[in-house]
């Protein structure tokens, strides 16, 4: 009997010991995990995650310049900055420009890339060379690309056409164009629309609204369109490469089967290629849209005065808050933070919207 109880006791002890050692192992594992992720988490937390909350806090103050981590308490103004921004005509213009920039660079950029990808997804010689060439602009810094763009699209002057593009236009008998200095919208120019301005009472909200809307519908200014072209040029290689990868994941048997049934060309594309690459298209659309809303270097480098000119027609969100924070210090850091928070919310809403859309529309 005694030996039996002793055996039981030792069994209990063994179990307890086992549980203890398991707890210890578990603790060790947790600790190991936390230590390994610590460096990354610290950096991401301090410089990427918290700043959004911090920017929101800063946006509640009216303090162009301040010392320390927070402005003085009496500077607290609640949501006043948001009201100020919503009444800021330039902000609305900037928002309109940003929307055109995103629309233009995403839609045209993806269409061009898909076209190139379809061409490159065929058994032809020299694919590697083409791919290298199309991808080259993507690794080039946007600053350098913007400098070249300024030079290529330089406006005409008393000495002649000014830049290469105008020289080519003159060469084929056209009239030189003031690419980067033209603040009128491209649709407005193309269809010769006169902007609607209620000259009797230009400060009236209604006439402001109509004026703003018509100027938005006039399209991106020619200057902004030139910069959109730069954005497309620089990123088209990236999109093409991703599209090619997407195309190569479409099973070849599907095409063969459809061809046996007599389908070809456009029918094949519409019924097989397009639905099957929809995840890739969707991914690129989201990435490019987020990228377009954050565009800074293209505009900062290429716009004629490097501040979003002429007449704010190339000013976009990021440039707007950069100039607010670091150029026009009467607006300053808190105002810029407000813009940043608005930009953040636009992107969140946009991503959710695109995702919803994709959930119902992305096939397969």
């Amino acid at each position: 009997m005694t030996t039996g109880t002793a055996g039981l006791q030792s069994e209990e002890q063994m179990l307890a010991q086992l549980a203890r050692s398991q707890r210890r192992r578990r603790f060790r594992l947790n600790l190991e995990g936390y230590v390994l992720i610590l460096p990354a988490i610290l950096v991401l937390g301090i410089f990427h995650f918290l700043p959004i909350i911090y920017a929101f806090v800063l946006s509640l103050y009216r303090a162009p310049i301040f010392k320390g981590l927070l402005p003085a308490p009496e500077r607290f103004t609640g949501f006043n900055n948001y009201g100020r921004i919503l009444n800021d005509d330039i902000f609305w213009k900037v928002l309109g420009n940003t929307i055109w920039y995103a629309l233009g660079s995403v839609v045209l950029g993806l269409a061009t890339a898909l076209g190139l990808a379809l061409l490159l997804n065929r058994p032809i010689r020299g694919i590697g060379i083409y791919r290298t060439i199309f991808f080259l602009p993507y690794v080039t810094s946007l600053l350098v690309a913007g400098m070249i763009w300024r030079w290529l699209f330089r406006s005409p002057n008393q000495n002649g056409p000014g830049g290469l593009v105008n020289s080519l236009i003159v060469g084929v008998g056209g009239k030189p164009v003031d690419f980067l200095g033209e603040s009128r919208g491209i649709f407005q120019l193309a269809f010769n629309i006169q902007p609607v301005i209620n000259s009797a009472n230009p400060e009236d909200l209604g006439s402001k609204l109509i004026g703003g809307l018509t100027s938005f519908l006039g399209g991106p200014s020619l200057a902004l369109s030139t910069i959109i072209l730069l954005a497309i040029w620089s990123v088209v290689g990236f999109n093409t490469v991703v599209f090619i990868a997407g195309l190569q994941n479409v099973p070849k048997e599907l095409y063969d089967a459809a061809r046996v049934d007599g389908a070809q060309g456009w029918t094949l594309f519409k019924n097989i290629t397009w639905p099957l690459i929809s995840p890739t298209t969707f991914f690129l659309a989201i990435v490019s849209t987020i990228g377009a809303f954050q565009a800074f270097t293209t505009v900062f480098t290429t716009s004629i005065d490097r501040l979003g000119g002429p007449d704010n027609s190339t000013n976009v969100m990021t440039l707007f808050f950069y100039t607010a924070a670091f150029r026009y210090t009467q607006l300053g850091l808190s105002y810029a933070s407000t813009t940043a928070i608005i930009l953040f919310f636009i992107l969140v809403v946009l991503s959710i919207f695109q995702t919803r859309l994709a959930a119902s529309r992305v096939n397969y």
Binding site: L36, I41, Y322
Partner: protein, 365 residues
């Protein structure tokens, strides 16, 4: 049309031959058209570079001396610089402290790259292999930071850096960028594919976790590390806004900030601007030509991977000889929700994104 019809009736050998030459000719024509379209595209892609180099070899007068009248030939001849002015490069180099800017950029980009790789390897390994408490939630938060626009964080970061008294130091240029949620995600996928028993066997031999990561996990995921490293380096080299905000002294400027200032001061000296532009992108172009396979394939993979978690598996597991190669091979119970779930959850609720990937991994193992 006739060719298609002929396949429906029994065909004689003559008809067969005619059909094959017909489709061959059609193939050749469409191949020619494809090349034509691609060559036109290539001209658009390359023309700005050619124009940059051409301008950089001219004198100031030659550079802006466009024909006043309609003379296309004269314009096109401007692509070939007569009497190339190699001294432009020297002049541009000396008219600002480009040596210092280059040094700063190389240092900053290298430190960023090394930092990103170290933090990402450690974190990715922990997320992939250690089932520690809260790992799913924390990983979800890490992925969520991918959605935050960097620019929105710049003002608060500027205030933080200013309070740390890091303005005009390398710390300000490097430390905020030594972690990358994207690379953590990328490497985690790689590490997941490593079989668990390798570590257990190594642990029995007294191999510590860190040593295991360094000696097994890192060498096995070299392709992913090279891709991640290249992108970090180039991203850092090309970045402009952040260095612009946190540097004010000339001696701390990176190459992009220096060049941006050079653009301000030499507005109309296009031959010098283009010379400076050329030597600024030269290092990246050289790296690109040597490592373009890693670039292009890295992008192709990550793009497809992010657009669909199942393809992530497909590409990452390929080196270990696992069986999935295409979307069609994904087991059917998962296939219907694949695209929507994969990309949707990745962007909206990253915490849930880990779900389908790991359940599929287990299933296949």
């Amino acid at each position: 049309m006739a060719v298609e019809a002929s396949t429906r009736v029994p065909v004689s050998s003559d008809a067969l031959e005619a059909r094959s030459t017909g489709s061959k000719r059609r193939f050749q024509v469409s191949g020619l058209l494809t090349h034509l379209a691609l060559i036109i595209g290539s001209i658009f892609a390359l023309l700005p570079f050619v124009w940059m180099v051409a301008t950089s070899l001219k004198t100031s007068d030659q550079a802006t001396n466009f024909p006043k009248n309609a003379d296309l030939g004269a314009t096109l001849r401007m692509f070939v610089p007569t009497n190339p002015q190699w001294s432009n490069y020297k002049d541009a180099w000396q008219s600002a402290d480009f040596g210092r800017y280059f040094f700063n950029s190389i240092l900053v980009a290298s430190l960023c790259t090394v930092g990103v790789l170290i933090t990402s390897v450690l974190a990715a390994y922990a997320f992939a292999k250690l089932d520690f408490r809260g790992s799913g939630l924390i990983f979800g938060l890490v992925l969520a930071t991918m959605m935050i626009p960097h620019e929105a964080a710049y003002i608060p970061n500027f205030v933080i850096v200013r309070n740390l008294q890091w303005i005009d130091t390398y710390a300000a240029l490097v430390i905020p960028w030594i972690a990358s949620p994207f690379n953590i995600f990328l490497l985690r996928q790689f590490f997941r594919a490593l079989p668990e028993d390798i570590y257990e066997a190594a642990a029995l031999d007294g191999c510590s976790r860190l040593r295991f990561i360094w000696q097994f996990a890192v060498p096995l995921s070299k392709p992913a590390l090279i891709t991640a490293g290249l992108f970090s380096f180039i991203g850092s080299w090309n970045s402009l806004l952040w260095p612009l905000i946190v540097t004010s002294q000339d001696s701390m400027r990176t190459i992009q900030v220096g060049l941006s200032n050079f653009l301000n001061s030499e507005q109309n000296e296009f031959h010098l601007l283009m010379a400076a532009a050329t030597f600024t992108i030269l290092p990246i172009i050289v790296i690109y030509f040597f490592a373009q396979r890693q670039f292009v394939e890295g992008i192709a993979k990550t793009g497809v991977k992010l657009s669909s978690p199942y393809l992530i598996l497909a590409n990452h597991h390929a080196p270990l000889g696992w069986a999935i190669t295409a979307a069609s091979a994904v087991p059917t119970p998962y296939a219907p929700t694949r695209a929507t779930n994969g990309s949707t959850l990745y962007l909206v609720s990253p915490a849930k994104y880990a779900g389908p990937v790991c359940s599929l991994t287990r299933r296949i193992v």
